[in-house]
Symmetry: C2
Subunit: 600 residues, 2 copies
């Protein structure tokens, strides 16, 4: 159950698909040279593989626990998080002026993947802290930045996001937590928040809760929500943690997975009021929270990819080791099960989906860097639109994919997979949260349909499809040599997929007004279709690069041939589902909506 | 988390799709009249819903546990099993001469579904006992039948299947357990068996282990395996349990799911040898074990269907109760989430797949009854061949389906689904064993390809496809009235599906010799394709019946319209995947087999 970061694959994606070189020429990204990035990845891989990964299974067996308002985290977490902060990993993508390393998102992204492959439960504290940092960087006052950013970025303190309340899951309009101004610029906060990841723990000196609440005269609904900083310990003038604030953890949840990550119920203000300060302006809380959420959504997508990679590695190791039954082609004795075709099929499915999602996410990260750092405003804006189109797909598809991969990981193990000791089952349990938190797949899909497709009449979606078509043309032009049949098969499925996606975009744009429920009945399917087509596009690009290098006699031939073979698998087994999704979306809403509520 | 057996749906399938009336005219099946069957189902529903279903979630939280060789089962299990046996439910399908009720499989099958919907963990003891009864009925001596059958059939004793050993999971050729003849007709058994469901427990007076072992001069491989009865307590001349046999439970497993079902490691012969008696002839053990396995495989398929129904009911109840966010079509306030299109889509997916798998399984059970009871030998033989074709599909597809349904059940619950208290997560965990035990999906698929398709050149498969085509013709001939568009959509997808299935059968038969690995690379996909096409066929038949009754003004119109709507959903959302599976099977083996082992 060890974890070896797939550095070679990661570098291939960074260099060949995600334009690291171009990113490193952006203003402020000059440190991200090829050599530096490789060194950073290797160092991070060492930390994640040696320090964090060994904690994953033991921390599932002995989860974090609550006693009398305190949460004791799983053995090893506190020490590992201290090392994480001190080594600068929390700050990898954050500004150097507050103690960060200031590296582009494209470099931070593989590090996020590695940390999550090592332990989703552990990585969550860093993910939430990143979100708090982003919100403060964007909307915090200079004073708030001066107080909070450095300790968060260096891992001395951690952050949380407090959205959900017992009566309001995904529906933030229903938030009831109250914020009462005290006349001195501070507020007293009263209310209950649930599902607060790392809402209480023993791994840092202080916890900075970012809390959605309503001021007394706020308008109803989402337009009356403000964002507050509510630290666990109030901060002294010298920046050290001071008096205990009135924000207390009353329990943590007993969960299906990510058991080492404490999920807290937080009670604010039961003893007179929790002291908080407003972030930005009143009633703009949702907007600021979306800053955290968008960063977190991309991060959760990376969780799916990291988990999938870990589950894949474990399944491969088992399949090479486990000897069982003769080879179909006729061996004398039993062989390692990796020789059995259906085991091979499952491993290829795990591998190809993980690689495709990784490539799409890294490409997205590179686009985000261009969107944030390019000198030209029009270029920034165009890239931001593409990045924002991709975020719900990266979050939604990568996590849905990770459920399937974790499931196949158990299946490869057979009966042993069902025994908790083996560890494969943990991935299956852990994966199930990823399609739920930071917005369920349906909420990602609503975002994809509403804000990302309908709002611009499908313009960005079509611009992305045009890029897919360019890759299809490149496949047509490639000779292919020994791999001509593979490239032809990839091209065929990619063309079918992009045509399906374009038809669906047209359908969504054309029908959303006249038949809103009929369009949203297919929203998740549209997200999945976009995932496999854009993932398949990246796999096709990888195959083209590999073919070019093989033709030129460059690089590691076995590695490059595997890229082509994996892309071929993805095309025939995953991308081939595009037609079915297309008809379910375009023709399938009648079935979705056929029954009255009383008929269920 | 209650469970209400879907009696109305079950009776619809029995009467309209699975030919209960025809079965009730078979010799020996005369008791299975419509009225009797309805009464049996209602009584069973009451027992399962009131006695067993309430145990399911508590028994997951407080599983069976091992101490000093003894297993204490979860609270309530012992009393419930006593009531189960005394009420005659263990004996429902077994011969009256040994205390059974002698009802056909078609009547026992809904009862199996209900018991599993109530609690998979509880139902397992009955499932394994059924298997032991089947083996003894087929291969046991008159003396063995006289000793063991009545106590097993009346639920006083229970049975186990002992196949797996630490070095031999699915590969029975590797069995090492030894059986040494004692000269008095008995044998001493020595060895270790793992994964023995209910291998030790406190719910019955005695446990009858059926054990695969090798006699001293047995040939190697599967042809040298014999089957032995090894009771936990040796049986006195008067039929009462006597001296403790040398078969001991040394531990039970800590599992992902079905936690209340003890999974034992059994040690035979550590104190001188466990006394056993041979079942049937030496070296024919595998053949007898397959009798148990085939019954058990069908039973595990029913477990998937029962679990899916339970997960569906729980998700519907939650979706009707949980109020969250406004209606897309524009409500003033928040609505129950069942009004949100993607929740509706998931519920329809759960519902339609459960209904399709149920219909296919019940139809299979009816065919099995004809195969065993019909007066005409040729009719028996033809039906047996169809039944045997269906068994791996019913086992494999229903259980794979149940994983997806249980997954969607968690997803409908959102964050609450991830909290164990809610109970949705239990189904997700429990479902994962169903695609593994009694032969993984890959093993079912190997059976489907090898024994069930290639051996007769695809003849039975094509005969089934011809029946699907007849339903397509009936759809073309139907007028459809208000549901004309639904019937047309169903017909379209069914025609695409049956064409895909036929092409795949042809591909399998044509290529298995020249490219055995390439064919088996798609074996699980062929199984899934067969599942959705044959499940879709049953849904289409249901829609035709519903349309006919609506036209005639018969029956419950809302119920019948829901049958058509559910069939429409299945066609557009599930059956529409047939084309993708077809290309993955026919074109996709290159990708499966593209990498060398060293490239993983």
């Amino acid at each position: 159950m060890s974890y070896q970061a797939p550095i070679k694959d990661m570098l291939f994606v960074l260099n060949e698909l995600a334009n690291l070189e171009q990113v490193s020429r952006l203003p402020g990204c000059e440190d991200a040279t090829g050599d530096t990035v490789e060194a950073v990845l290797e160092e991070n891989a060492k930390f994640c593989g040696e320090v964090v990964a060994p904690l994953n299974h033991p921390s599932d067996k002995e989860p974090s626990f609550w006693h009398d308002g305190q949460v004791t985290t799983s053995a090893g977490f506190k020490v590992a998080f201290q090392a994480f902060g001190e080594s600068g990993w929390q700050g990898i993508g954050h500004p150097t002026e507050f103690g960060g390393q200031g590296l582009p998102k494209l470099v931070g992204t593989p590090c996020t993947e590695m940390l999550n492959a090592a332990s989703i439960s552990f990585a969550l504290v860093a993910l939430l802290t990143d979100g708090a940092i982003e919100a403060l960087l964007t909307a915090g006052s200079d004073e708030q930045k001066a107080i909070y950013l450095e300790p968060l970025i260096t891992g001395k303190w951690t952050g949380t996001m407090n959205l959900t309340e017992p009566q309001a899951g995904s529906d933030l309009a229903a938030v009831r937590t109250r914020a009462v101004p005290q006349g001195d610029g501070s507020y007293k906060i009263f209310g209950t928040k649930i599902y607060i990841t790392y809402g209480e723990h023993d791994m840092a000196e202080n916890i900075i809760h970012l809390v959605l609440a309503r001021t007394p005269d706020a308008p109803p609904g989402v337009k009356g929500i403000s964002l507050f900083i509510v630290p666990k310990f109030l901060v002294n003038a010298d920046g050290t943690p001071g008096a205990r604030n009135d924000a207390h953890c009353v329990s943590i949840e007993h969960k299906l997975g990510i058991k080492a990550s404490p999920t807290a119920v937080l009670q604010f203000g039961d003893n007179g009021g929790a002291i908080g300060t407003l972030v930005g302006e009143e009633n703009r809380g949702l907007e600021y929270m979306f800053i955290m959420m968008n960063a977190a959504r991309f991060g959760v997508g990376m969780q799916g990819i990291g988990l999938a990679e870990r589950a894949y590695q474990q399944a491969v190791a088992f399949a090479k080791d486990r000897v069982q039954s003769r080879d179909l082609a006729g061996s004398a004795g039993p062989v390692a099960i990796i020789h059995h075709p259906d085991v091979r099929r499952m491993l290829m499915s795990m591998r190809s989906q993980t690689e495709a999602a990784r490539a799409l996410a890294y490409v997205g990260a590179g686009i985000s860097d261009v969107a944030h750092h390019h000198a030209d405003e029009a270029t920034r804006k165009a890239n931001l639109a593409v990045y924002e189109y991709l975020v719900p797909i990266i979050k939604g598809w990568s996590t849905e994919m990770s459920e399937n991969v974790a499931r196949d990981g158990v299946q490869v193990h057979g009966g042993m997979g069902f025994i908790e000791e083996t560890g494969a089952a943990q991935h299956y349990r852990d994966a199930k949260i990823l399609t739920i938190y930071e917005g369920t797949t349906a909420i990602q899909a609503n975002d994809l349909v509403g804000r990302k497709t309908v709002r611009d009449g499908g313009a960005v979606a079509r611009s992305v499809i045009a890029q897919v078509r360019a890759t299809e043309s490149a496949l047509a032009a490639a000779q292919g040599g020994a791999h001509a049949a593979d490239l032809a098969a990839i091209r065929k499925q990619l063309a079918l997929g992009s045509a399906a996606l374009e038809e669906v975009v047209d359908f969504v744009v054309a029908n959303v007004k006249s038949d809103i429920k009929g369009v949203f009945a297919g929203s998740v399917l549209y997200l999945k279709l976009a995932g496999i087509v854009l993932g398949g596009w990246q796999m096709a690009r990888a195959a083209l690069v590999a073919q070019r290098k093989l033709d030129a006699g460059e690089g590691d031939a076995a590695f490059l041939r595997a890229k082509i073979g994996t892309a071929r698998f993805f095309a025939d087994h995953i991308l081939s589902g595009a037609g079915g999704l297309r008809s379910a979306i375009v023709e399938g809403s009648a079935g979705v909506l056929a029954l009255d509520v009383e008929q269920f």
